[in-house]
């Protein structure tokens, strides 16, 4: 049983969704909808009663919550049920007060053991809510910037192992243009697959490698906003036209 992303035509393309317990890298330049996609992925789980953990390295939990509220009017219900949790490695580092339910604060993105501990604490808090959950790390690029690619890679190796064992299907965002090709390849290598996004002549294109789909099906058009993400390119019988 695949894990639906909540974006209907993308799920068609992914033959139902991403594989359970997979770790997908969402890779592309800034401002092309990676964050919206990642949050919709969490929301889809919440709608099905599946807990979600959003690990934030460059956005405050309060802002992420505001975005969720704008995306789904039922979000307060998921919040009241304790389904949504945040690991916020941003607010404390810049001195923001945090008044968001279900948040674990970390004192900065360089404190990787603090980050791993906060994720472990959060998973312990939700483990009774169901056998699986969703986890998003947004973004790896901040961790790499504050540490270095090798250190972040080791962190990710541990995190993927632990979250799989905990029953999590994970997404990690990585910014194009901030890292060398060799560094990007290193992170692609550890992922179950890559969902690449890019702007192209006034349009946005998406490509899937791995993630349980055998063929590379080329690039397909999509559009996005702060609250939505939709595939607009046509495809049939599982293939992009």
């Amino acid at each position: 049983m695949k894990v639906a992303t909540g974006i209907r035509r993308l799920d068609d393309l992914l033959e139902g969704g991403v594989p359970p317990l997979s770790a997908t890298l969402v890779y592309g330049p800034p401002f092309v909808g990676k964050e919206t996609f990642a949050r919709l992925f969490i929301l889809q789980g919440l709608r099905n009663g599946e807990p979600g953990i959003l690990v934030l390295t460059n956005e405050a939990a309060a802002d992420a919550r505001d975005r969720f509220l704008a995306m789904d009017p039922d979000f307060p219900k998921y919040e009241a049920a304790g389904l949504i949790r945040y690991v916020d490695a941003y607010s404390k580092a810049i001195g923001l007060d945090v008044d968001v339910p279900g948040v674990e604060l970390v004192d900065g993105p360089m404190n990787l053991n603090g980050l791993a501990t906060a994720v472990a604490n959060t998973q312990r808090a939700i483990v009774g809510l169901g056998p699986t959950h969703r986890l998003v790390v947004d973004s790896l690029s901040t961790l790499i910037t504050y540490t270095n690619p090798q250190t972040t890679f080791r962190f990710l190796q541990v995190l993927i192992g632990k979250t799989r064992r905990a029953g999590a299907t994970a997404l990690f965002t990585l910014d194009h243009g901030m890292h060398t090709d060799a560094e990007v390849q290193m992170f692609k290598h550890i992922a179950s697959g890559v969902l690449s996004v890019k702007p192209d002549q006034g349009k946005y294109l998406l490509n899937i490698q791995g993630i349980g789909v055998a063929e590379d099906r080329g690039w397909v058009d999509y559009k996005f906003s702060d609250t939505g993400f939709e595939i607009t390119g046509s495809f049939a019988a599982g293939r992009i036209r």
């Binding site: 990787l112 312990r124 090798q150 080791r154 541990v158 632990k162």
Partner: protein
Amino acid sequence: MEREGLGIPQVDRLLSAIPLRSSVVLVNDPGVEAEPFLYQCAHHHLQQGRRVIYAVFNRSPETIVSAMEEYGFGGAAPKGELRFLDAFSALVGGGSDLPGYTLDAPTDLEALAGVLEEIADESPEAVLLLDSLSTLADHASLDAFKAHLPRIHAALKRFRLSVALFTRWPYGEEPAEMLAPFDALLTLKGVEERVMVSQYVRLERAAWAAPGRSRPLLYKALKPGGVLAYVPKVVVTGAHHAGKTTFVHALSDTAVSVNRLGTTVALDHGHLTLDGVAVDVFGTPGQSRFDPLLKTITGQALGVILVVDASRPDTFDRAREMMALTWKQGLPIIVAANKQDLPGALAPQEVARLLEVPAHVQVMGCRAQDKEGSRHVLKALLDQILLGAEAQ
């Protein structure tokens, strides 16, 4: 000879007394709480009036102060002085207003060793806390870390006491070998089922102790409260009306019971902190119709207290049955000869004789209503549990 400790009572029992100028390293698995050990150690030595140098490489000195407050280690230290070796701010282009030293090139391990030597010259009686060695390895490179460790370690040995953290990221090399120069090594690990359910600390080696590793000591890091050894289940059992519920409530900081008409029909649960140990206590029902529940209530217990009514020898057969249902050989146990205040109550030695308990089982007189007396019994059991944990 003058000795030192980390200021964490049960961990200090594991370590015995640390000779001056010793270096201790705590090697934690990722996701296991290690930093609170340093916060508590800093607090302890500040309270002793010492200077504490906290070297930090992955977050600001201000966040250390804030974290210490969260764990309950804020407030004034009348004579102590906390200084930072700030090897973080230069990486992010900031600065700290807190007193101490700044490392302008935190990735330069040669420079770090030099600064540590200077601080050791200036403050040889200071306690140095280093958070963390693995961040040094991450910043520089593992090879550079290994190359510079002998000089860094030699500088650490010049302080009154030095305690360092090392997170066991997948470096591809065994930390214990890399960290061989340290005088003592403790490991902090998680007990993982689907997720990490608990954490434990184990002494792997100490230059001043007999060779061999200790058994694991479960711990919790509480905000506030700091690092406490954790005994997740002590079972209090005994015959109907022996005083189990009274005993659990008297010794606990907080307790609840599932009662009907004054009799426990499911269990009693209490929680308390005693001598740096957090304990969860579970009381069983005493009536035989609840015997099927006992296996569930007593599963994975670390120790048993058998409460008997010392004024009612006619209940001892049932007490023996309860002991058989809840205790197995090797598990720490204490018999609490309760109701010593009642006329005709038997002395503990007589209770031991009539109950026919094995010779090594300690029988202690008590009055269950008396908090101190009940805690005295529990403390004797905890000593058995934790001394067992220290056995080589």
